[in-house]
Symmetry: C2
Subunit: 225 residues, 2 copies
DNA sequence: CGGCGAATTGAATCGTATCAACGATGGTGG
DNA sequence: CCACCATCGTTGATACGATTCAATTCGCCG
């Protein structure tokens, strides 16, 4: 369940929302939010819950999941600091969201956001761009799941993580092999084997199981397509 | 290539756009558009082209595709009359779009649409909902591609098509087995075999290869999960 | 040091792809 | 109008990539 009254000391007061601060949802949208923290694997919202809020990752990492009746799980997306999640067209969340690692999340009231979009044209536009950008990422994910081999999927994820990290050639994997597998539509074992193969090739190097060094990005790129 | 000056006799004149009519992009967005027609397999826009327009299917069916260097193809979505496609966060189309069957498409200038969103708050909201709804469909597609078996994928598609069609139990498949395969992340042969199996079970009946009768929807639903 | 979850590795199995042949369908031109 | 050809769909045999099941190993925390 979502905890809104987590202890928190605001830097700024936003007036209308008690205990709130202002956060930058996107270039051009500054809005009142309450920051909540979540422990590893804690649920932020569940599939089917009423979507009263939109969320912004402050730090840590979040995953969204869908689960089939027999337990098969698919991760829709990983969200890093600065990313927005929980945008919904309906009033119900289509996926659940969980903290991959301990994290802080800005919780924005949907009603608040919609008012902001009405007040400010720039905000409305930024909001649309946010949704459209996520759609573009989803299309990339669809291509990966529909048509790429295990090796290509793993290479694609590593490159994506590298691009989202701090430019140097070292990628810290914030998620377990299980999370990678459920994102990539594979099993834990296949992900593990594939990473081992890439390391044996010399395409990557494993400092430890969660730290990948990419000595030559140009060598990994063709493997991702 | 996109043909904007296709011969067309407008029902209404929209003033600012010559040869244009007004179309309903979504409940609450009425906007000027020029209707263009496309032959089967004709490209409406290509991957990487500047995204100057947004499109509304008037009749016929459209598919969006991504192609890998070696020719592997993934269909992102099928669009039916009333559906909007070509929404892009960047200024470049991330997929190509082609007419699955001969079709008529309303072509809306992006600039025009953005002006409308600025003028009218309702339009801005509807535009956001459009993007978010497509995102929800993409998430469903991701679950299908990442975690469902061939049988579940085919069953899911048939149900989806049934729900989008005219309520009775007969579904006309507007696309080839190849298109179904590229949407479902399978091969033509697997799609064909799976449909044959469902027919052998009695779950569906094939009037002809493009016409599926679903005598008992309740029997197909559990097969889709 | 012991124990527990995460990750790796190996062997056997299974689902889907691939390769190949054949049948059905529809459009075209003689 | 019908024969022809191209395309689409179906079906069978085989191959292969990823999964499953099982056994260690690694890393971390008590």
């Amino acid at each position: 369940m979502l905890v809104l009254d987590t202890p928190f000391h605001p830097k700024t007061s936003a007036g209308s929302v008690p205990g709130a601060r202002l956060v930058v949802l996107a270039p051009g949208i500054e809005i009142a939010a309450v920051v909540s923290t979540f422990a590893r694997d804690e649920e932020i919202f569940g599939e089917g819950e009423i979507a009263r809020h939109v969320f912004l990752v402050m730090n840590g990492v979040v995953r969204t999941c869908r689960i089939l009746a027999d337990g098969r799980r698919q991760i829709g997306e990983f969200y890093f600091p600065g990313d927005v999640f929980g945008l919904e067209p309906n009033d119900v969340h289509g996926s659940s969201a969980e903290a991959l690692a301990p994290c802080a999340v800005a919780v924005i009231k949907r009603a608040e956001l919609e008012q902001e979009a009405v007040r400010n044209t720039e905000s409305a536009r930024a909001l649309w761009e946010l949704a459209a950008r996520q759609l573009a990422r989803a299309q990339e994910h669809i291509l990966l799941l529909g048509r790429k081999t295990a090796r290509e999927r793993v290479a694609s994820l590593l490159l994506d993580l590298a691009d989202r990290g701090d430019g140097n050639g070292t990628v810290r994997l914030p998620m377990s092999r299980a999370d990678m597998a459920d994102y990539l539509g594979l099993t834990i074992e296949t992900v593990s084997r594939t990473i081992s193969e890439l390391a044996r090739d010399g395409t990557i190097r494993l400092a430890d199981s969660r730290t990948v060094v990419i000595p030559n990005r140009g060598r990994l790129v063709p493997l991702a397509a």
